[in-house]
């Protein structure tokens, strides 16, 4: 049910093909040893998902684009801080989450705000296929209404397909603390969505 990691797109390059089947952790170890191709593979494998996560987290596709760059530049600069034996994906999402937090802490760019100086409530989505736009907007509004401590675990769990152990690793919390936050978040989401649905019907 939950989305799996996208396969590495290797193209025709034999050098790229040689790193394709490796795990994220092996690729990261190779990158730490100085192999640029390993970085390419990691970028191709994760950048779309990280961009989706950051778009949901910040509410802005263009901001997410900038933050993806910052995330992978941080990965390059701080590759020595990746601990051998630890998992790559939680580390990458921890970087992305920190980048988004830093962006929000320092204030948004003026062009990201509405004329009233508020955060945009919806994100233009260019994905293919018909979708229930009203429901999407309601879900987004409900997610935005959650406190960050509940919203991030839900985004990581529901949309990024991460387990609670990985989320705990990402956020530097215990697994039980993450479960409690997600539990409260899903409960609150259901309440909010029921309210929004009632308002829509009225």
């Amino acid at each position: 049910m939950k989305p799996a990691s996208a396969p590495v797109r290797t193209g025709d390059d034999s050098g790229r093909a040689s790193v394709a089947p490796e795990s994220d952790e092996v690729l990261m170890a190779r990158f730490c040893e100085g192999q640029a191709l390993a970085f390419d593979a990691l970028f191709q494998r994760h950048s779309r998902q990280v961009r989706g996560y950051l778009t949901r987290l910040t509410g802005s596709a263009s901001t997410a684009e900038d933050l993806v760059q910052l995330t992978f530049m941080s990965l390059v600069r701080s590759r020595g801080r990746f601990l051998a034996g630890s998992r790559f994906k939680p580390w990458l999402y921890a970087i992305a989450t920190n980048a988004a937090r830093d962006f929000q802490r320092r204030g948004r760019r003026p062009e990201e705000l509405t004329p009233e100086g508020e955060l945009p409530t919806g994100v233009a989505d260019e994905g293919p296929g018909p979708r229930d736009v009203g429901l999407e907007r309601a879900v987004r509004q409900a997610l935005d209404a959650l406190p960050e401590g509940q919203r991030i675990p839900i985004l990581l769990h529901r949309f990024e397909g991460m387990g609670f152990a990985e989320i705990a690793d990402t956020l530097g919390l215990t697994e039980s603390a993450v479960k409690v936050r997600a539990h409260r978040g899903y409960t609150r989401l259901r309440e909010l969505l029921a309210t929004l649905r009632t308002e829509t019907l009225e």
């Binding site: 530049m73 978040g185 989401l189």
Partner: protein
């Protein structure tokens, strides 16, 4: 949350085994949670990135948006430094700076005597060891890449306990006039801390901002000057130790948090 509720959380979105399905049927909380999960099951797949025409490379269908810039940055970084420098290099550097600061500070201040503290030598040594332990632990907490962060209360309680120990273990010997002694020791503490605090802030900016880490780093940098004063200062009254040694030291921790929060972050890695 019961253990069954926790197991339901682990299997959200999957087919539940009969025992968990039976639990959900009877547990109102689990029904609400699974309902909340299912509510957001359909919509909002990962949004696609906006079209970008920033580089020629992005015309390549195999290249993702932003990959050109990220790859160029990675190549430039690898050209400068092919192998990653382990995180503990920064730790060793900072501990070295702290040690050098203590050594130079004591040399500059001590013309006739190295230890001016008139308390019993075992007390002087014991408190010095405690300060050194906090200095090392604070530096480690500040720079370690481990994501599990020490809670605020632990850092505040530890530093408070050390401050109290410094005040309560003073010799009681009166030195200069209160105000003169206060100004002298506060000035010394600030002057001695400048270099370690600056190096600390530079190293902190190479990882994500976290207030507790910044506080631990600031207290650690300040501990170098606290140690110098502890060994050198002959004034052992409680009021002097509190206002001339401990309060400025705690203030340095706050200053570190403030300065770090305003500094740019070169990497958001934990």
């Amino acid at each position: 949350m019961t253990p069954e509720c926790s197991r339901v959380m682990d299997r959200l979105g999957e087919a539940l085994p009969p025992d968990l399905a039976a639990h959900v049927a009877n547990c109102q909380e689990c029904q609400v949670v699974t309902g909340g999960f299912e509510f957001i099951s359909g919509p909002s797949p990962a949004p696609t990135a906006p079209a970008s025409a920033s580089s020629d490379d992005e015309d390549d269908e195999d290249t993702l948006p932003g990959q050109f810039d990220a790859r160029r940055f990675a190549l430039e970084t690898l050209a400068k430094q092919p192998k990653a420098r382990p995180w503990w290099h920064g730790l060793v550097l900072l501990v070295g700076v702290h040690a050098a600061t203590v050594g130079v500070g004591l040399m500059l201040l001590s013309r006739d005597f190295w230890v001016g503290n008139a308390a019993h030598s075992s007390i002087v040594v014991g408190v010095a060891i405690l300060i050194l332990a906090l200095l090392g632990a604070g530096t480690y907490i500040a720079l370690s890449p481990h994501r599990r962060v020490v809670p605020w209360v632990a850092v505040l309680a530890t530093s408070g306990a050390l401050g109290l120990t410094v005040v309560l273990t003073g010799s009681g010997q009166q030195g200069r006039a209160f105000l003169a002694g206060l100004v002298g020791c506060m000035g010394t503490e600030l002057a001695v801390t400048v270099v370690p605090l600056a190096v600390t802030l530079v190293l902190l900016s190479r990882s994500a901002f976290h207030p507790v880490r910044a506080l631990a780093a600031g207290l650690s940098a300040g501990a170098a000057s606290l140690l110098v004063l502890h060994l050198h200062c002959p004034d052992g009254t409680a009021s002097h130790l509190l206002w001339g040694h401990v309060v400025p030291w705690l203030g340095l921790g706050g200053i570190a948090v403030l300065l770090r929060s305003r500094m740019p972050t070169s990497s958001h890695a934990p």
